[in-house]
Protein backbone atom coordinates (compact mmCIF):
# COMPACT_ATOMS: atom_id res chain seq x y z
CA UNK A 1 0.00 0.00 0.00
CA UNK A 2 1.35 3.38 -0.91
CA UNK A 3 -0.47 5.38 1.71
CA UNK A 4 1.19 6.11 5.02
CA UNK A 5 -0.10 5.12 8.40
CA UNK A 6 -1.89 8.07 9.96
CA UNK A 7 -2.88 7.42 13.57
CA UNK A 8 -5.12 10.49 13.42
CA UNK A 9 -7.11 9.29 10.43
CA UNK A 10 -10.65 10.55 11.15
CA UNK A 11 -12.00 7.23 9.88
CA UNK A 12 -10.60 5.45 12.90
CA UNK A 13 -11.39 8.12 15.47
CA UNK A 14 -13.81 5.72 17.18
CA UNK A 15 -10.99 3.32 18.06
CA UNK A 16 -8.84 3.63 21.20
CA UNK A 17 -5.56 5.43 20.65
CA UNK A 18 -3.54 2.37 21.66
CA UNK A 19 -5.05 0.55 18.67
CA UNK A 20 -4.77 3.47 16.23
CA UNK A 21 -1.07 3.96 16.94
CA UNK A 22 -0.28 0.36 16.17
CA UNK A 23 -2.57 -0.70 13.36
CA UNK A 24 -3.36 1.04 10.11
CA UNK A 25 -7.07 0.36 9.78
CA UNK A 26 -8.33 3.55 8.16
CA UNK A 27 -8.23 2.11 4.66
CA UNK A 28 -10.69 -0.64 5.63
CA UNK A 29 -13.22 1.94 6.79
CA UNK A 30 -12.47 4.05 3.72
CA UNK A 31 -13.13 1.01 1.52
CA UNK A 32 -16.48 0.25 3.10
CA UNK A 33 -17.49 3.91 2.96
CA UNK A 34 -17.24 3.88 -0.81
CA UNK A 35 -18.99 0.59 -1.28
CA UNK A 36 -22.45 1.12 -2.70
CA UNK A 37 -25.54 -0.96 -3.18
CA UNK A 38 -27.67 -0.21 -6.26
CA UNK A 39 -31.25 0.68 -5.37
CA UNK A 40 -33.87 -0.63 -7.81
CA UNK A 41 -37.04 -2.70 -7.91
CA UNK A 42 -35.09 -5.96 -7.50
CA UNK A 43 -32.79 -4.79 -4.68
CA UNK A 44 -34.62 -7.10 -2.29
CA UNK A 45 -32.70 -10.07 -3.71
CA UNK A 46 -29.46 -8.57 -2.45
CA UNK A 47 -30.50 -9.67 1.04
CA UNK A 48 -30.66 -13.37 0.22
CA UNK A 49 -26.89 -13.92 0.31
CA UNK A 50 -26.67 -12.25 3.70
CA UNK A 51 -29.52 -14.39 5.03
CA UNK A 52 -27.77 -17.55 3.86
CA UNK A 53 -24.60 -16.35 5.59
CA UNK A 54 -26.52 -15.65 8.78
CA UNK A 55 -28.07 -19.12 8.73
CA UNK A 56 -24.61 -20.59 8.28
CA UNK A 57 -23.46 -18.75 11.41
CA UNK A 58 -26.47 -20.18 13.26
CA UNK A 59 -25.36 -23.62 12.07
CA UNK A 60 -21.87 -23.14 13.47
CA UNK A 61 -23.16 -22.02 16.85
CA UNK A 62 -25.87 -24.69 17.21
CA UNK A 63 -23.57 -27.32 15.65
CA UNK A 64 -20.81 -26.73 18.19
CA UNK A 65 -23.43 -26.84 20.96
CA UNK A 66 -24.73 -30.18 19.69
CA UNK A 67 -21.19 -31.58 19.66
CA UNK A 68 -21.09 -31.04 23.42
CA UNK A 69 -23.72 -33.74 24.00
CA UNK A 70 -23.57 -35.81 20.79
CA UNK A 71 -21.62 -39.05 20.77
CA UNK A 72 -21.08 -40.80 17.43
CA UNK A 73 -20.42 -44.09 19.22
CA UNK A 74 -23.91 -43.95 20.76
CA UNK A 75 -25.50 -41.82 18.11
CA UNK A 76 -29.19 -42.54 18.60
CA UNK A 77 -29.05 -42.68 22.40
CA UNK A 78 -27.15 -39.41 22.63
CA UNK A 79 -29.55 -37.59 20.30
CA UNK A 80 -32.42 -39.03 22.32
CA UNK A 81 -30.79 -37.64 25.47
CA UNK A 82 -30.38 -34.28 23.76
CA UNK A 83 -34.08 -34.30 22.89
CA UNK A 84 -35.43 -35.50 26.22
CA UNK A 85 -32.91 -34.96 29.02
CA UNK A 86 -30.56 -32.10 28.25
CA UNK A 87 -32.09 -28.73 29.13
CA UNK A 88 -33.22 -27.01 25.93
CA UNK A 89 -31.49 -29.73 23.89
CA UNK A 90 -34.65 -30.10 21.79
CA UNK A 91 -34.45 -26.37 21.02
CA UNK A 92 -30.82 -26.46 19.93
CA UNK A 93 -31.33 -29.52 17.73
CA UNK A 94 -34.57 -28.22 16.23
CA UNK A 95 -32.92 -24.90 15.47
CA UNK A 96 -30.01 -26.72 13.83
CA UNK A 97 -32.35 -28.79 11.65
CA UNK A 98 -34.62 -25.90 10.71
CA UNK A 99 -31.73 -23.54 9.97
CA UNK A 100 -30.14 -26.24 7.79
CA UNK A 101 -33.28 -26.56 5.71
CA UNK A 102 -33.80 -22.80 5.52
CA UNK A 103 -30.18 -22.34 4.52
CA UNK A 104 -30.54 -24.69 1.57
CA UNK A 105 -33.81 -22.99 0.57
CA UNK A 106 -32.33 -19.49 0.82
CA UNK A 107 -29.20 -20.57 -1.06
CA UNK A 108 -31.43 -21.84 -3.89
CA UNK A 109 -33.38 -18.56 -3.92
CA UNK A 110 -30.13 -16.60 -3.88
CA UNK A 111 -28.78 -18.65 -6.76
CA UNK A 112 -31.85 -18.31 -8.95
CA UNK A 113 -32.14 -14.58 -8.26
CA UNK A 114 -28.51 -14.12 -9.32
CA UNK A 115 -29.15 -16.30 -12.33
CA UNK A 116 -32.13 -14.33 -13.59
CA UNK A 117 -30.42 -10.99 -12.95
CA UNK A 118 -27.50 -12.44 -14.93
CA UNK A 119 -25.07 -11.57 -12.16
CA UNK A 120 -22.88 -14.47 -13.27
CA UNK A 121 -21.72 -12.67 -16.41
CA UNK A 122 -18.26 -11.20 -16.97
CA UNK A 123 -16.42 -10.28 -14.74
CA UNK A 124 -18.20 -12.28 -12.02
CA UNK A 125 -17.78 -15.83 -13.35
CA UNK A 126 -15.79 -16.95 -10.32
CA UNK A 127 -18.37 -15.58 -7.89
CA UNK A 128 -20.93 -17.80 -9.64
CA UNK A 129 -18.70 -20.85 -9.59
CA UNK A 130 -17.73 -20.46 -5.93
CA UNK A 131 -21.44 -20.00 -5.18
CA UNK A 132 -22.20 -23.21 -7.03
CA UNK A 133 -19.56 -25.05 -4.99
CA UNK A 134 -21.06 -23.61 -1.79
CA UNK A 135 -24.48 -24.98 -2.71
CA UNK A 136 -22.97 -28.39 -3.43
CA UNK A 137 -21.23 -28.25 -0.02
CA UNK A 138 -24.56 -27.28 1.59
CA UNK A 139 -26.14 -30.40 0.17
CA UNK A 140 -23.20 -32.50 1.34
CA UNK A 141 -23.70 -30.98 4.80
CA UNK A 142 -27.35 -31.94 4.64
CA UNK A 143 -26.63 -35.47 3.46
CA UNK A 144 -23.92 -36.16 6.06
CA UNK A 145 -25.83 -34.51 8.90
CA UNK A 146 -28.99 -36.45 8.14
CA UNK A 147 -27.33 -39.75 9.10
CA UNK A 148 -25.96 -38.62 12.47
CA UNK A 149 -29.11 -39.22 14.62
CA UNK A 150 -29.07 -42.84 13.31
CA UNK A 151 -32.81 -43.33 13.16
CA UNK A 152 -34.67 -45.46 10.63
CA UNK A 153 -35.17 -42.66 8.09
CA UNK A 154 -31.54 -41.55 8.37
CA UNK A 155 -30.36 -45.10 7.85
CA UNK A 156 -32.35 -45.79 4.71
CA UNK A 157 -31.83 -42.31 3.23
CA UNK A 158 -28.10 -42.81 3.56
CA UNK A 159 -28.35 -46.34 2.22
CA UNK A 160 -30.11 -45.02 -0.88
CA UNK A 161 -27.75 -42.07 -1.28
CA UNK A 162 -24.62 -44.19 -1.02
CA UNK A 163 -26.05 -46.87 -3.30
CA UNK A 164 -26.87 -44.35 -6.00
CA UNK A 165 -23.29 -43.12 -6.02
CA UNK A 166 -22.23 -46.74 -6.47
CA UNK A 167 -23.68 -46.81 -9.99
CA UNK A 168 -21.06 -44.34 -11.20
CA UNK A 169 -18.53 -46.06 -13.37
CA UNK A 170 -14.92 -46.52 -12.19
CA UNK A 171 -15.07 -44.47 -8.95
CA UNK A 172 -18.57 -45.42 -7.79
CA UNK A 173 -17.71 -48.51 -5.78
CA UNK A 174 -14.65 -46.90 -4.26
CA UNK A 175 -16.60 -43.79 -3.25
CA UNK A 176 -19.38 -45.84 -1.69
CA UNK A 177 -16.86 -47.91 0.30
CA UNK A 178 -15.09 -44.77 1.45
CA UNK A 179 -18.37 -43.27 2.64
CA UNK A 180 -19.59 -46.44 4.37
CA UNK A 181 -16.23 -47.43 5.79
CA UNK A 182 -17.00 -50.99 4.76
CA UNK A 183 -19.54 -52.99 2.85
CA UNK A 184 -22.39 -52.18 5.21
CA UNK A 185 -23.62 -49.07 6.96
CA UNK A 186 -22.66 -49.09 10.63
CA UNK A 187 -21.08 -47.17 13.47
CA UNK A 188 -17.99 -46.70 11.33
CA UNK A 189 -20.18 -44.90 8.76
CA UNK A 190 -21.48 -42.53 11.44
CA UNK A 191 -17.90 -41.76 12.49
CA UNK A 192 -16.92 -40.97 8.91
CA UNK A 193 -19.95 -38.82 8.26
CA UNK A 194 -19.36 -37.08 11.57
CA UNK A 195 -15.75 -36.21 10.71
CA UNK A 196 -16.96 -34.99 7.33
CA UNK A 197 -19.81 -32.99 8.80
CA UNK A 198 -17.96 -31.20 11.60
CA UNK A 199 -14.46 -30.77 10.14
CA UNK A 200 -13.93 -31.47 6.48
CA UNK A 201 -17.00 -29.74 5.06
CA UNK A 202 -16.78 -26.69 7.37
CA UNK A 203 -13.10 -26.14 6.47
CA UNK A 204 -13.89 -26.37 2.77
CA UNK A 205 -16.93 -24.18 3.23
CA UNK A 206 -14.95 -21.46 5.05
CA UNK A 207 -12.37 -21.34 2.27
CA UNK A 208 -14.84 -21.16 -0.59
CA UNK A 209 -17.13 -18.77 1.30
CA UNK A 210 -14.14 -16.51 1.95
CA UNK A 211 -13.38 -16.39 -1.77
CA UNK A 212 -17.03 -15.85 -2.67
CA UNK A 213 -17.38 -12.88 -0.30
CA UNK A 214 -13.94 -11.52 -1.22
CA UNK A 215 -14.86 -11.46 -4.92
CA UNK A 216 -18.07 -9.59 -4.12
CA UNK A 217 -16.18 -7.08 -1.97
CA UNK A 218 -13.55 -6.24 -4.56
CA UNK A 219 -15.88 -6.21 -7.57
CA UNK A 220 -18.85 -4.58 -5.94
CA UNK A 221 -22.43 -5.67 -6.37
CA UNK A 222 -23.66 -6.54 -9.82
CA UNK A 223 -26.01 -4.04 -11.47
CA UNK A 224 -28.70 -5.65 -13.60
CA UNK A 225 -29.01 -4.49 -17.22
CA UNK A 226 -32.10 -2.35 -16.79
CA UNK A 227 -30.37 -0.47 -13.98
CA UNK A 228 -27.03 -0.09 -15.69
CA UNK A 229 -28.62 1.36 -18.82
CA UNK A 230 -30.24 4.19 -16.90
CA UNK A 231 -28.63 7.62 -17.18
CA UNK A 232 -26.27 8.25 -14.25
CA UNK A 233 -28.50 10.91 -12.72
CA UNK A 234 -31.34 8.40 -12.45
CA UNK A 235 -29.30 5.68 -10.74
CA UNK A 236 -29.80 5.55 -7.03
CA UNK A 237 -27.38 3.94 -4.62
CA UNK A 238 -27.31 3.21 -0.93
CA UNK A 239 -24.12 3.21 1.13
CA UNK A 240 -23.16 -0.35 2.05
CA UNK A 241 -22.00 0.88 5.40
CA UNK A 242 -23.87 1.71 7.50
CA UNK A 243 -27.15 1.95 5.52
CA UNK A 244 -27.30 -1.46 3.87
CA UNK A 245 -25.49 -3.20 6.73
CA UNK A 246 -28.04 -2.01 9.30
CA UNK A 247 -30.89 -3.24 7.10
CA UNK A 248 -29.09 -6.55 6.78
CA UNK A 249 -29.01 -6.78 10.56
CA UNK A 250 -32.74 -6.03 10.79
CA UNK A 251 -33.44 -8.82 8.33
CA UNK A 252 -31.21 -11.16 10.34
CA UNK A 253 -33.16 -10.36 13.49
CA UNK A 254 -36.39 -11.21 11.70
CA UNK A 255 -34.93 -14.49 10.42
CA UNK A 256 -33.71 -15.33 13.92
CA UNK A 257 -37.20 -14.80 15.32
CA UNK A 258 -38.77 -16.84 12.55
CA UNK A 259 -36.27 -19.62 13.20
CA UNK A 260 -36.97 -19.56 16.93
CA UNK A 261 -40.67 -19.76 16.21
CA UNK A 262 -40.27 -22.74 13.87
CA UNK A 263 -38.05 -24.58 16.36
CA UNK A 264 -40.46 -24.03 19.22
CA UNK A 265 -43.69 -24.69 17.32
CA UNK A 266 -42.41 -27.58 15.21
CA UNK A 267 -39.59 -29.36 17.06
CA UNK A 268 -37.69 -31.82 14.90
CA UNK A 269 -38.59 -35.46 15.39
CA UNK A 270 -36.36 -38.39 16.16
CA UNK A 271 -37.46 -41.77 14.82
CA UNK A 272 -36.81 -45.28 16.10
CA UNK A 273 -33.19 -46.35 16.27
CA UNK A 274 -31.92 -47.67 12.96
CA UNK A 275 -32.07 -51.43 12.67
CA UNK A 276 -30.41 -52.85 9.56
CA UNK A 277 -32.56 -55.98 9.88
CA UNK A 278 -35.88 -54.14 9.99
CA UNK A 279 -37.70 -53.59 6.71
CA UNK A 280 -37.62 -50.08 5.25
CA UNK A 281 -40.72 -48.08 6.15
CA UNK A 282 -43.09 -47.59 3.23
CA UNK A 283 -42.99 -44.29 1.31
CA UNK A 284 -39.48 -43.46 2.44
CA UNK A 285 -38.38 -40.13 1.04
CA UNK A 286 -35.19 -38.11 1.11
CA UNK A 287 -34.90 -34.53 2.34
CA UNK A 288 -36.91 -32.14 0.20
CA UNK A 289 -33.86 -30.78 -1.62
CA UNK A 290 -33.11 -34.23 -3.00
CA UNK A 291 -36.77 -34.95 -3.70
CA UNK A 292 -36.85 -33.67 -7.29
CA UNK A 293 -33.90 -35.87 -8.27
CA UNK A 294 -35.41 -38.79 -6.36
CA UNK A 295 -38.74 -38.44 -8.16
CA UNK A 296 -37.13 -38.07 -11.58
CA UNK A 297 -35.02 -41.17 -11.00
CA UNK A 298 -38.19 -43.16 -10.36
CA UNK A 299 -39.35 -42.40 -13.91
CA UNK A 300 -36.39 -44.03 -15.56
CA UNK A 301 -36.81 -47.64 -16.62
CA UNK A 302 -34.54 -50.14 -14.92
CA UNK A 303 -32.48 -50.67 -18.04
CA UNK A 304 -31.88 -48.25 -20.87
CA UNK A 305 -30.01 -50.12 -23.57
CA UNK A 306 -26.70 -51.26 -22.09
CA UNK A 307 -26.82 -49.09 -18.97
CA UNK A 308 -29.04 -48.95 -15.89
CA UNK A 309 -31.69 -46.30 -15.43
CA UNK A 310 -29.87 -45.02 -12.32
CA UNK A 311 -26.67 -44.46 -14.22
CA UNK A 312 -28.55 -42.61 -16.96
CA UNK A 313 -30.31 -40.45 -14.38
CA UNK A 314 -27.14 -39.70 -12.44
CA UNK A 315 -25.33 -38.83 -15.67
CA UNK A 316 -28.17 -36.49 -16.60
CA UNK A 317 -27.93 -34.74 -13.22
CA UNK A 318 -24.19 -34.47 -13.65
CA UNK A 319 -24.58 -32.93 -17.09
CA UNK A 320 -27.21 -30.42 -15.99
CA UNK A 321 -25.08 -29.50 -12.97
CA UNK A 322 -22.05 -28.99 -15.18
CA UNK A 323 -23.98 -26.80 -17.63
CA UNK A 324 -25.35 -24.82 -14.71
CA UNK A 325 -21.90 -24.27 -13.21
CA UNK A 326 -20.47 -23.25 -16.56
CA UNK A 327 -23.30 -20.92 -17.55
CA UNK A 328 -21.10 -17.78 -17.28
CA UNK A 329 -18.95 -19.17 -20.07
CA UNK A 330 -21.88 -20.22 -22.23
CA UNK A 331 -23.73 -16.92 -21.78
CA UNK A 332 -20.42 -15.06 -21.88
CA UNK A 333 -19.57 -11.38 -22.30
CA UNK A 334 -20.06 -11.15 -26.05
CA UNK A 335 -22.31 -14.16 -26.48
CA UNK A 336 -24.88 -13.86 -29.24
CA UNK A 337 -28.42 -13.02 -28.12
CA UNK A 338 -29.72 -16.56 -28.70
CA UNK A 339 -27.30 -17.98 -26.17
CA UNK A 340 -28.31 -15.42 -23.60
CA UNK A 341 -31.97 -16.20 -24.22
CA UNK A 342 -31.20 -19.91 -24.19
CA UNK A 343 -29.58 -19.61 -20.77
CA UNK A 344 -32.67 -17.78 -19.53
CA UNK A 345 -35.04 -20.52 -20.76
CA UNK A 346 -32.73 -23.18 -19.37
CA UNK A 347 -33.02 -21.49 -15.98
CA UNK A 348 -36.81 -21.25 -16.24
CA UNK A 349 -37.05 -24.92 -17.24
CA UNK A 350 -34.76 -26.01 -14.41
CA UNK A 351 -36.62 -23.97 -11.80
CA UNK A 352 -40.03 -25.13 -13.03
CA UNK A 353 -38.82 -28.74 -13.23
CA UNK A 354 -37.43 -28.63 -9.72
CA UNK A 355 -40.62 -27.17 -8.28
CA UNK A 356 -42.91 -29.58 -10.14
CA UNK A 357 -40.87 -32.68 -9.35
CA UNK A 358 -40.41 -31.68 -5.71
CA UNK A 359 -44.17 -31.26 -5.26
CA UNK A 360 -44.85 -34.45 -7.21
CA UNK A 361 -42.29 -36.32 -5.11
CA UNK A 362 -43.83 -34.94 -1.94
CA UNK A 363 -47.35 -36.11 -2.78
CA UNK A 364 -46.56 -39.45 -4.38
Amino acid sequence: MSHTHDPNDPNTAFLPEAVRRRYDLGWIIEFFKHKQVPVHRHSVWYYTGGIALFLFIVQIVTGVLLMVHYNPGQAHASVQAIMSQVDFGWLIRSTHSWAANLMVLVAFIHMFSCFFMKSYKYPREMTWITGFVLLALCMAFGFSGYLLPWDQLAFFATQIGVKSSEVMPVFGGFMADMMRGGKELGVQTIERFYALHVWVLPLMFFGVLGLHVFFIQIQGLHEPDFFEKQPPEKKRYMRFFPDFAIKDVYVWLLVMNFLGLLAVMFPWELGEEADPLAPAPADIKPEWYFLAMFQLLKLFPAEVGPITGELLGMSLFGLVGLLWALVPFIDSEHAPAWRSRGAFYFGIALLAGMIVFTIWGYYS
Binding site: V68, V86, D87, F88, G89, L91, M256
Partner: protein, 163 residues
Amino acid sequence: MDQPSAPHREHHHHLHLPDKETVRRDFIRTLFTSGFLVWIGAFIYPVYRYLKPREEEDTTNAVQSIIAGKTGDFASTRAKLVKFGSKPVLLLKNDQGEIVALGATCKHLGCTVQYVAAKNHIFCGCHGGVYDLTGKNISGPPPAPLDKYKVAIEGEDVIVSRA
Protein backbone atom coordinates in the same frame (compact mmCIF):
# COMPACT_ATOMS: atom_id res chain seq x y z
CA MET B 1 -29.91 21.46 24.75
CA ASP B 2 -28.05 24.71 24.76
CA GLN B 3 -30.71 26.64 22.98
CA PRO B 4 -30.22 30.37 22.79
CA SER B 5 -32.10 31.59 25.81
CA ALA B 6 -35.62 32.37 24.83
CA PRO B 7 -36.68 35.45 26.67
CA HIS B 8 -40.26 34.28 27.22
CA ARG B 9 -39.37 30.94 28.72
CA GLU B 10 -38.69 30.79 32.36
CA HIS B 11 -37.43 27.29 32.58
CA HIS B 12 -34.78 28.14 35.09
CA HIS B 13 -37.49 28.17 37.73
CA HIS B 14 -37.88 24.43 37.28
CA LEU B 15 -34.27 23.65 38.05
CA HIS B 16 -32.88 21.60 35.11
CA LEU B 17 -35.83 19.56 34.03
CA PRO B 18 -35.24 18.16 30.55
CA ASP B 19 -37.69 19.20 27.87
CA LYS B 20 -40.44 16.90 26.62
CA GLU B 21 -38.51 15.84 23.51
CA THR B 22 -35.63 14.59 25.60
CA VAL B 23 -37.86 12.76 28.02
CA ARG B 24 -39.63 11.06 25.15
CA ARG B 25 -36.39 10.15 23.42
CA ASP B 26 -34.90 8.74 26.61
CA PHE B 27 -38.03 6.77 27.32
CA ILE B 28 -38.10 5.23 23.86
CA ARG B 29 -34.41 4.48 24.00
CA THR B 30 -34.75 2.75 27.36
CA LEU B 31 -37.74 0.82 26.10
CA PHE B 32 -35.95 -0.42 23.01
CA THR B 33 -32.68 -1.13 24.77
CA SER B 34 -34.35 -3.17 27.49
CA GLY B 35 -36.53 -4.91 24.92
CA PHE B 36 -33.43 -5.81 22.94
CA LEU B 37 -31.64 -7.06 26.05
CA VAL B 38 -34.61 -9.25 26.93
CA TRP B 39 -34.59 -10.58 23.37
CA ILE B 40 -30.88 -11.40 23.59
CA GLY B 41 -31.52 -13.04 26.94
CA ALA B 42 -34.18 -15.25 25.37
CA PHE B 43 -31.43 -16.76 23.20
CA ILE B 44 -28.61 -16.76 25.74
CA TYR B 45 -30.59 -18.38 28.55
CA PRO B 46 -31.36 -21.68 26.76
CA VAL B 47 -27.72 -21.91 25.69
CA TYR B 48 -26.60 -21.35 29.27
CA ARG B 49 -28.97 -24.02 30.55
CA TYR B 50 -27.92 -26.39 27.77
CA LEU B 51 -24.26 -26.09 28.76
CA LYS B 52 -24.76 -26.07 32.54
CA PRO B 53 -23.76 -29.45 34.00
CA ARG B 54 -26.78 -31.39 35.18
CA GLU B 55 -27.51 -31.49 38.89
CA GLU B 56 -26.16 -34.89 39.77
CA GLU B 57 -26.91 -36.77 42.90
CA ASP B 58 -23.96 -36.41 45.22
CA THR B 59 -22.23 -39.75 44.80
CA THR B 60 -19.22 -38.81 46.91
CA ASN B 61 -20.69 -40.52 49.93
CA ALA B 62 -22.73 -43.14 48.12
CA VAL B 63 -20.15 -45.89 48.55
CA GLN B 64 -19.52 -46.75 52.17
CA SER B 65 -17.37 -49.81 51.81
CA ILE B 66 -16.05 -52.20 49.20
CA ILE B 67 -14.50 -55.61 49.03
CA ALA B 68 -11.15 -54.49 47.73
CA GLY B 69 -9.56 -57.88 47.22
CA LYS B 70 -8.28 -61.01 48.94
CA THR B 71 -5.52 -61.24 51.49
CA GLY B 72 -3.81 -63.57 49.06
CA ASP B 73 -3.42 -60.67 46.61
CA PHE B 74 -0.53 -59.41 48.70
CA ALA B 75 1.51 -62.59 48.56
CA SER B 76 3.70 -61.37 45.72
CA THR B 77 3.13 -57.60 45.84
CA ARG B 78 2.87 -54.98 48.53
CA ALA B 79 0.55 -52.53 46.78
CA LYS B 80 -2.64 -52.53 44.82
CA LEU B 81 -4.80 -49.71 43.36
CA VAL B 82 -8.56 -50.16 43.69
CA LYS B 83 -11.59 -48.01 42.91
CA PHE B 84 -13.60 -46.77 45.84
CA GLY B 85 -16.70 -45.33 44.17
CA SER B 86 -15.15 -42.91 41.69
CA LYS B 87 -11.93 -42.45 43.67
CA PRO B 88 -8.67 -44.43 43.53
CA VAL B 89 -7.51 -46.03 46.77
CA LEU B 90 -4.06 -47.51 47.35
CA LEU B 91 -3.97 -50.75 49.35
CA LEU B 92 -0.58 -51.36 50.97
CA LYS B 93 1.03 -54.01 53.10
CA ASN B 94 3.17 -51.97 55.50
CA ASP B 95 6.46 -52.95 57.10
CA GLN B 96 4.56 -54.55 59.98
CA GLY B 97 2.68 -56.79 57.56
CA GLU B 98 -0.67 -55.02 58.07
CA ILE B 99 -2.84 -54.04 55.13
CA VAL B 100 -3.65 -50.32 55.11
CA ALA B 101 -5.66 -48.22 52.70
CA LEU B 102 -4.86 -44.66 51.66
CA GLY B 103 -6.58 -42.29 49.26
CA ALA B 104 -4.43 -42.40 46.13
CA THR B 105 -5.27 -38.83 45.09
CA CYS B 106 -2.24 -36.64 45.65
CA LYS B 107 -2.93 -33.65 47.92
CA HIS B 108 -0.96 -31.35 45.63
CA LEU B 109 -2.91 -31.19 42.35
CA GLY B 110 -4.90 -34.38 42.31
CA CYS B 111 -2.78 -36.86 40.31
CA THR B 112 -2.89 -40.52 41.30
CA VAL B 113 0.06 -41.66 43.41
CA GLN B 114 1.93 -45.00 43.29
CA TYR B 115 3.94 -47.20 45.61
CA VAL B 116 7.65 -47.34 44.72
CA ALA B 117 9.05 -50.61 46.01
CA ALA B 118 12.72 -49.66 45.50
CA LYS B 119 12.43 -46.70 47.87
CA ASN B 120 9.59 -48.11 49.96
CA HIS B 121 7.59 -44.90 49.77
CA ILE B 122 4.56 -43.46 47.97
CA PHE B 123 5.41 -41.23 45.04
CA CYS B 124 3.44 -38.87 42.79
CA GLY B 125 4.79 -38.78 39.24
CA CYS B 126 3.40 -35.35 38.39
CA HIS B 127 5.52 -33.10 40.60
CA GLY B 128 7.59 -35.49 42.63
CA GLY B 129 5.57 -35.47 45.87
CA VAL B 130 6.61 -38.19 48.35
CA TYR B 131 4.60 -39.75 51.20
CA ASP B 132 5.63 -42.39 53.70
CA LEU B 133 3.68 -45.61 54.10
CA THR B 134 1.36 -44.04 56.67
CA GLY B 135 0.38 -41.43 54.07
CA LYS B 136 2.32 -38.59 55.69
CA ASN B 137 3.70 -36.07 53.23
CA ILE B 138 7.46 -36.14 53.66
CA SER B 139 8.90 -34.41 50.58
CA GLY B 140 7.96 -32.30 47.60
CA PRO B 141 4.96 -30.05 47.12
CA PRO B 142 2.07 -31.97 48.80
CA PRO B 143 0.62 -29.81 51.60
CA ALA B 144 -1.20 -32.55 53.53
CA PRO B 145 -1.13 -36.29 54.22
CA LEU B 146 -3.14 -38.70 52.05
CA ASP B 147 -6.72 -39.52 53.12
CA LYS B 148 -7.08 -42.55 55.37
CA TYR B 149 -9.49 -45.45 54.91
CA LYS B 150 -10.38 -48.24 57.31
CA VAL B 151 -9.38 -51.78 56.52
CA ALA B 152 -10.98 -54.89 57.96
CA ILE B 153 -10.17 -58.49 57.15
CA GLU B 154 -13.16 -60.84 57.04
CA GLY B 155 -11.97 -64.30 56.25
CA GLU B 156 -10.15 -63.90 52.96
CA ASP B 157 -11.76 -60.60 52.03
CA VAL B 158 -10.12 -57.23 52.45
CA ILE B 159 -12.90 -54.74 53.22
CA VAL B 160 -12.17 -51.06 52.78
CA SER B 161 -14.52 -48.49 54.27
CA ARG B 162 -14.63 -44.80 54.96
CA ALA B 163 -12.60 -43.70 57.94
